[in-house]
Symmetry: C2
Subunit: 294 residues, 2 copies
């Protein structure tokens, strides 16, 4: 038996759909496929000196940021720039030398911290009333949250890619960061998230920290991690592409996994934890369809 | 002006103490010191091939686990063992080869997932009603939570050190893990947390992942990260010690920092986030008093 929960803003209620599958029939118990192929035009290959990272961009949520980031990537803007602000447990931030001609050459963007939703919009619900939002869930593999039926926003889970900015809302241009620690959800809505790591997060975690504690030797900027290159996957030679599929968060397989994750039925849980889920603590699976040996 | 919030189980209310300090007087605005020195008998130096990590143990919360772990450390039990289960965004787990004589030589421990509190017990409160507990806070630098006036437990924040176990509650012996991703709070109470990383978390994050995704080449066990050594700091030669102080979470400085962190008064927050704090997203500062150059 499988129960699918879909939150519908039009009906302002949760639709509970119950299916009974014959487990012996060998059929694929899916409504929608379990895996979703990434669009190579919205997928990025980040090459670091110590490993390769694949990122899915989110033009459906943050179109202007994806457009600008993609245009910069197309012209190799980030190649040889550095992760200059890397704080353990928080973020790894990269970009051109601040105040340089290169830095100032990029126009600022209006913030896209939230997006409008309407009565026809739906997503896969994870949790009502977490600490930061009325409801959380997933859409297209991205963790998100909402407080009403008018708007929603992507949440700052580990692996999130967002654009850095100055004090003003509309001051982001090219500097970006990855979340590398416990979700800083207080940044939700006031920063623009425009992608997420789908492969190689351990290499993001291995980026050299630039921030030191009191009493520690400062890190020489020559030790900062450099970006070897960032390319749109469509521009990567075929034999060097990493072809990734990600869990389809709109599938019944995924909804079933959420239910299991919440129920914790394994004997390991000799006492059941609270029947809740932190949207940032639900890993979305990826798999490799083809990986270059290079 | 400084407001201190102390949750008192005896009075079942929050005591709000307001102090007015003269910022011009140059005095140390502290009730209790801002920094706390670590006890070298309860501090561990973990040497990995790629860096050094300092851990504070928690005998006040998990005495039997600390006792057993310390005894194992004293006899160099973990030296040359490997991190054999390392899952990005989740945990890095180490221990002797499973089922080996060495593994079986260690007695199992009764779980210490919770500890009793009484009406005289106090802690520095962070948040009421987060997703997993009635109240969260800090005591002696450790993040914890409680649902009532009888018991509390340490929470699985990033950097937490806990003992692994089998299906049964009382099956932990020597295998341990560090949390390296979004807090898996569903493990609270049913695992024994007995320490936390106070220095070098980036080296824990750089431990070689052993878990791969579908379609990925398996990691050869020869690539697993080995433990060069684990020593109690008291047993480390003086000139090789890393002497750490940590924020005193019972100080007014710390309470003031919590208030500021919640209020987000910087102009950067052009829209204020919800006035809440995730106990696992409040970093406890460390500083180095003396570090060997070795």
């Amino acid at each position: 038996m499988m129960i699918i929960m879909i939150y519908s803003t039009s009906k302002k209620l949760f639709i509970l759909i119950t299916f009974v599958f014959m487990s012996a029939c060998g059929a694929d118990n899916s409504i929608g496929e379990q895996w979703r192929a990434l669009n190579i035009n919205n997928t990025v290959l980040l090459t670091l000196p110590h490993g390769k990272v694949v990122i899915e961009l989110a033009p459906q949520f943050s179109p202007k940021h994806v457009e600008q980031f993609s245009a910069l990537v197309k012209k190799s803007f980030y190649d040889d720039t550095k992760f200059y602000q890397v704080i353990d447990g928080f973020v790894a931030q990269a970009g051109p030398k601040e105040g340089s001609d290169k830095d100032k050459s990029v126009p600022v963007l209006a913030i896209e911290g939230q997006f409008a939703i309407d009565k026809n919009w739906s997503f896969t619900q994870v949790q009502k009333h977490d600490l930061f939002a009325g409801v959380t869930g997933f859409k297209d593999g991205f963790a998100l949250a909402s407080d009403n039926n008018d708007s929603a926003w992507l949440t700052h889970c580990p692996g999130t890619l967002a654009m850095a900015r100055g004090k003003e809302a509309g001051s982001a241009s090219s500097h970006f960061y990855f979340v590398i620690g416990q979700a800083p959800r207080y940044l939700d809505k006031i920063m623009t998230i425009f992608g997420r790591v789908v492969y190689g997060m351990e290499h993001i975690q291995a980026i050299k920290r630039t921030s030191v504690i009191e009493g520690e030797y400062a890190v020489d900027s020559r030790e900062y991690t450099s970006i070897t290159s960032i390319k749109l996957m469509v521009d990567v030679p075929l034999n060097e592409r990493i072809v990734i599929e990600v869990e389809n968060t709109e599938s019944t397989d995924f909804s079933e996994r959420l239910i299991k994750r919440r129920a914790r039925e394994s004997a390991f849980f000799y006492e059941k934890p609270p029947s809740v889920l932190d949207v940032c603590q639900v890993p979305i699976k990826s798999r490799i369809v083809k990986k270059s040996k290079i």
